[in-house]
């Protein structure tokens, strides 16, 4: 984080932030659309309350405005890595359950998965620009969840998508904070200003 921002680096970071913001926005829109399709496809109630899913980081956080840029990036990266694993698992379960019967839902789920992966890549790039080491993934990610029933799988999928939609919103706000020009380049304070 201490590395000084060269003009090209600043430009690159701005570009990455901008792209990541738009990706998060699109991801949210797609996830919202996917949620509708998923609820309908899985026969769930859109208003059904889902308890916190294990392994899914919560978007809501206290003192969000006090977080530093790096902290935001790291939290986002951890979350999206988790979503990537969860979505991959959902996609596999989806294929197991429906096969090719509902290819549209599978394609939409795969598209969201790609977007999650892409967003995670953007975050890693931003962290590299901050000259911060990228935390390694914990083995293969979170420990595989215990074998759940089919309904539990559907509910968990619903919870993953809802939380992903939340994270998409938060990510946009985090990245906009990061994209703001810092008064003192090369300082961490640039990533710590309040929204």
């Amino acid at each position: 984080m201490a590395a000084a921002d060269s003009p090209s680096t600043a430009l690159l970071r701005r570009d990455l932030c901008s792209r990541a913001i738009r990706l998060a926005g699109k991801m949210r829109a797609d996830v919202v659309d996917l949620l509708d399709a998923y609820v309908e496809q899985q026969g769930l109630d859109a208003s059904a309350s889902v308890a916190a899913v294990e392994g899914v980081p919560l978007a809501a956080v206290e003192r969000w405005d006090e977080q530093t840029g790096t902290q935001r990036l790291l939290e986002n990266l951890a979350a999206y890595r988790a979503f990537r694993t969860l979505l991959a698992q959902m996609l596999e379960e989806q294929r197991e359950q429906l096969g090719e019967a509902d290819a549209g839902l599978g394609r939409a789920l795969a598209a969201v998965l790609l977007q999650v992966s892409a967003f995670a890549y953007h975050l890693e790039e931003l962290l590299r620009l901050e000259s911060r080491g990228i935390p390694g993934e914990e083995g293969d990610g979170p420990a595989p969840p215990p074998r759940l029933s089919l309904f539990e799988q559907k509910l968990r999928g619903l919870g993953v998508l809802r939380e992903l939609a939340q994270w998409a919103v938060r990510s946009v706000r985090d990245l906009r904070q990061l994209a703001k020009p810092s008064p003192a380049t090369g300082t961490a304070s640039g990533l710590a200003e309040s929204p």
Binding site: R19, A20, R22, L23, G25, K26, R28, A29, D30, D33, A110, A111, L114, Q115, S117, A118, Y121, H122
Partner: protein, 918 residues
């Protein structure tokens, strides 16, 4: 041929059997093989193949590498390319694989010169793939959530080989499935596109000779999107006549891509589009109000969009939507003009007011009516007249004066500003100057120099000039600050009369006119030339002007081309205003061909040929020749007549000797019984001795007429009368008669003069045997029964030459004439003279009278004046002169009256030669 192929087949079978000892046990074992096996070679490279013989075949068939023959298809490869490596291996080398073909075979020339195939390979020649170039990708929006990315590239040269192209793309941490094009080698479409991540895209081309990879294209697919055009476009006219509102829906949510827009519109029927300024539509929106439109105009709208930041591609234009803006009041008054007809009475005008319909963008709606107001400016007390007109013209009957005409167009919204036209009593203001025209493509430019005074506007009138119809005036108004306009709708090759009027605030200038063509051509026909007058060396040519329809342009000149049949053509250029020209210096009595050519700026046209022949003589030449000749002839004749007249006695002596007329002799009186004593039965008896050689004249001295008393003369008168009225009454000497003769006896032509008295009564007899002069003699015995005494002068006229005047009236001539020529000649002379006499009897008095053949008299001088056939007359005169006996004294003393002429007659038998006076 058949036996040869049989021999080869038998040999091949033999060799196979030799080389394949266990052929019966399975596949035939070859005696050799080629390395490499079916190679793929680069075009243009060198290539070496080896043919390796099996050892087993060597011993069995005595086959060695030296006997190997290489073939490409059926063509033997030159042995220079062979190389025997050892006794079982032969190689062949090709420096350029382009000369290779399939198959390449290894053959052996066995004993007996039998050529046997050992092995063959298929050679494939081609090229390694080139590096794909110009890779580009575009993301097409297919539906609201579906995007496909199509990448295209240039595959490079043709490889002649099976080459596989694949489009590859990846994220840094993600490899996507390859896109393999179908049926093409230069494009591929990816259906799984993710935005907002830079994607590396590249193309790999692979074939048997190699692999080539294009330069990678790193792009975020969102930056190469071509979105769908906005949908559900609607347009509506809102409260203002110049504003419409455009609404639409976007296919892409703002979360994915924010958009900017282009809005274009045009008037229906117009092909040119107008665009709303791009900065006005550069932000995301779903509606826009377009302003600055024309009222009551039908517009077409269309819209497109693209990514707001300008990355990517514009969408296609949306479907077109039309709308008609609301009406507004007319923006200007109609252009107005007038045509004044003063034909009926100069003091009373027929004013035709004419105006043009407003253009749609000026009318701003449907014009319901026009309001015309006429105010007499010369009389302030006269009321203003108003007319409501639905058409575009109005005719007024106005007394001569100055008027102000106001015109207003009205639609459903309101009225236009008024158009004012001042009609002055006279166009006394200054006209425009230097009026000129210039063709400009399909328009005719009319220019002028403005007068010194301030001009409100100009009126330009023009009409098509025609020889068969009236000029139908078209007109146009130009602002006062211009000095030229373009006239549209002008036809080429037609003559237009253009007039420009300057309109002032207080009057109107007189019009200046000019004729012009938009485009000229050569005349459609040439002038028809003809001669008006042809002389010996000149000819006056005349022609008619071409009609304006035939001219096709301004006639710059006429050209006359004339020539003789074999001569060079002469060219004369004539001013176009002329219709007549005189060709001079022509050759007389020569046939000329003349034609005429009319020329415009763009060519000429020649009329039909016309031929004429110049005269042989010029004007007056004939008169100059004929008149002197005639005068000379007349002079000669006159001189001849005078000469003859003066020398008449001499001529008479030599040509016409005087023969006394026995009938006028007095012998008949003194010997009345003599005829009874003679009995002549025939002429032969009368003249037995032969012919007489001359006329015997008994000359008797006669006394003066006065010596006879009237009683003495009476018997002669009676006798004369008898002879004159009774034909066949012959006279004789002494009572003898010629009545027995078939010849008829008739009185002489001089009988009219037998009334002369003679005192002598001498009886005489005349016997004529010889012909008169050279004429054939007629044996005639002639005896006069005349009781008249012979005149002195009749007997010897020459003897009385000195006293002719005193003795002439007593002279009597007896003329013995045996020929007919003279008689025949006398007749037309008499007839001619008779005609003249009848024509002008009174003129005879005082003229010399000519007695011709003793029967007629010829008024010589009169004949010359009255007869127009001079030549004939001269001939007659000549003839008459020869046989005439001129007795002027007779005319003086006893002129014959017209009533007395019938007493003298010409016996009809004279021409038959049956009777001769005796």
């Amino acid at each position: 041929m058949f036996s040869r192929w049989n021999w080869v087949a038998c040999g091949f079978y033999l060799v196979l059997n030799i080389c394949s000892p266990d052929a019966s046990g399975g596949l035939v074992q070859s005696c050799g093989h080629i390395i490499p096996e079916s190679p793929v070679l680069a075009l243009g490279s060198n290539f070496t193949a080896l043919c390796i013989l099996n050892e087993s075949c060597l011993d069995f068939g005595n086959i060695y590498a030296s006997q190997i023959i290489w073939k490409i298809k059926n063509r033997v490869v030159p042995k220079e390319q062979y190389r025997e490596i050892n006794r079982t291996v032969s190689s062949v080398t090709f420096n350029d694989t382009s000369s290779l073909a399939t198959p390449l075979t290894c053959n052996i020339l066995a004993d007996g010169q039998i050529e046997q195939n050992i092995y063959g390979i298929t050679v494939t020649v081609g090229l390694a793939p080139e590096k794909p170039k110009n890779l580009s990708c575009i993301v097409h929006q297919v539906s609201r959530f579906t995007y496909v990315m199509t990448c295209t590239w240039n595959p490079g040269r043709h490889t002649f080989l099976d080459t596989q192209y694949r489009l590859r793309y990846s994220w840094p941490e993600e490899i996507f499935p390859d896109c393999i094009p179908k049926d093409v080698n230069n494009s591929c479409t990816v259906t799984d596109i993710q935005f907002f991540v830079n994607t590396e895209i590249w193309v790999e081309a692979t074939n048997a000779l190699g692999k080539a990879v294009s330069d990678p294209l790193v792009v975020d697919p969102i930056d190469i999107v071509k979105p769908l055009a906005p949908q559900n476009v609607s347009v509506s006219s809102v409260l203002l006549p110049t504003v419409v509102k455009l609404s639409w829906e976007n296919w892409i949510s703002d979360a994915v891509m924010t958009l900017k827009f282009n809005i274009r519109y045009r008037i229906v029927g117009d092909t040119n589009w107008m665009e709303v300024p791009s900065e006005d539509t550069s932000s995301p929106r779903t509606s826009f109000s377009v302003q600055g439109l024309r009222p009551y105009t039908e517009y077409v709208f269309s819209i497109r969009c693209m990514k707001e930041d300008g990355e990517g591609y514009w969408s296609d234009w949306s479907e077109e939507k039309t709308v008609i803006t609301m009406e507004d009041q007319p923006s200007k008054g109609p252009p107005i003009w007038r045509i004044i007809d003063k034909a009926h009475s100069p003091a009373s005008w027929t004013v035709h007011l004419i105006w043009k319909e407003l253009k749609p963008y000026e009318a701003n709606g449907v014009i319901l009516q026009y309001e015309v107001t006429v105010r007499d400016k010369s009389s302030l007390s006269s009321p203003v007249k108003k007319y409501n007109v639905t058409g575009t013209n109005h005719t007024l009957q106005l007394p001569e004066g100055t008027y102000e005409v106001t015109l207003i167009a009205r639609n459903s919204v309101g009225a236009s500003p008024p158009s004012v036209l001042l009609i002055p009593a006279s166009n006394s203001k200054a006209p425009v100057k230097n009026l000129r025209t210039l063709p400009k493509h399909d328009k005719l430019w009319v220019g002028w120099t403005a007068p010194n005074s301030y001009v409100l506007k100009y009126v330009i009138e023009w009409c098509l000039v025609s020889s068969s119809s009236d000029c139908i005036i078209e007109w146009q108004i130009a602002p006062g600050d211009v000095q030229g306009i373009d006239l549209k709708g002008i036809k080429p090759f037609k003559c237009y009369l253009i007039t420009v009027y300057p309109l002032y605030a207080d009057g109107q200038g007189s019009g200046q006119s000019v004729k012009a063509y938009l485009k000229q051509d050569r005349p459609s026909k040439g002038p028809t030339v003809q001669t008006k007058k042809v002389g010996k060396a000149e000819a006056v040519l005349t022609w008619n002007h071409l009609t304006v329809e035939e001219q096709n342009g301004f006639i710059r000149n006429y050209t006359i081309l004339y020539k003789t049949i074999d001569g060079n053509e002469t060219v004369v250029t004539v001013d176009p205003s002329k219709t007549e020209y005189t060709l001079s210096s022509l050759t007389s009595d020569t046939l000329y061909t003349v034609r005429m050519m009319a020329s415009t700026d763009n060519g000429s046209r020649t009329g039909p040929d016309f031929t004429f022949t110049t005269q042989k003589f010029g004007k007056g030449e004939i008169e100059a020749i004929v008149v002197p000749v005639c005068l000379a002839f007349l002079l000669i004749v006159l001189l001849g007549v005078l000469f003859c007249f003066n020398k008449r006695d001499l001529i008479k002596k030599h040509i016409w000797p005087i023969v006394p007329d026995p009938s006028k002799s007095n012998i008949a009186q003194w010997s009345p019984q003599v005829p009874a004593k003679h009995n002549f039965n025939s002429k032969d008896q009368m003249y037995p001795e032969g012919s007489f050689t001359d006329v015997s004249v008994v000359e008797i001295e006669a006394d003066d007429k006065k010596s006879f008393s009237e009683q003495d003369l009476k018997p002669f008168d009676l006798l004369k009368k008898e002879k004159s009225t009774s034909e066949g009454h012959s006279s004789g000497i002494g009572g003898s008669s010629c009545m027995s003769s078939p010849r008829q006896s008739v009185s002489d032509s001089d009988e009219g003069e037998t009334t002369q008295n003679t005192s002598s009564t001498v009886q005489y007899s005349t016997v004529v045997l010889n012909g008169y002069r050279d004429q054939t003699p007629v044996q005639v015995f002639s005896r006069s029964e005349s009781t008249q005494p012979l005149l002195d002068s009749e007997e010897r006229p020459e003897d009385h030459a000195g006293g002719a005047d005193s003795t002439a009236q007593r002279q009597q001539y007896f003329r013995q004439n045996g020929g007919q020529d003279e008689t025949n000649t006398d007749r037309p002379c008499f007839e001619r003279a008779k005609q003249i006499t009848h024509a002008n009897e009174g003129d005879f008095v005082g003229f010399v009278q000519l007695q011709i053949s003793g029967q007629s008299s010829q008024p010589l001088g009169l004949g010359m004046e009255k007869n127009t056939q001079e030549a004939a007359l001269s001939s007659v005169l000549q003839t008459c002169t020869e046989g005439q006996t001129v007795r002027p004294e007779t005319v003086e003393e006893n002129p014959l009256s017209v009533d007395e002429m019938p007493k003298c007659y010409l016996p009809q038998t004279v021409r038959q030669g049956g009777y001769m006076p005796q």
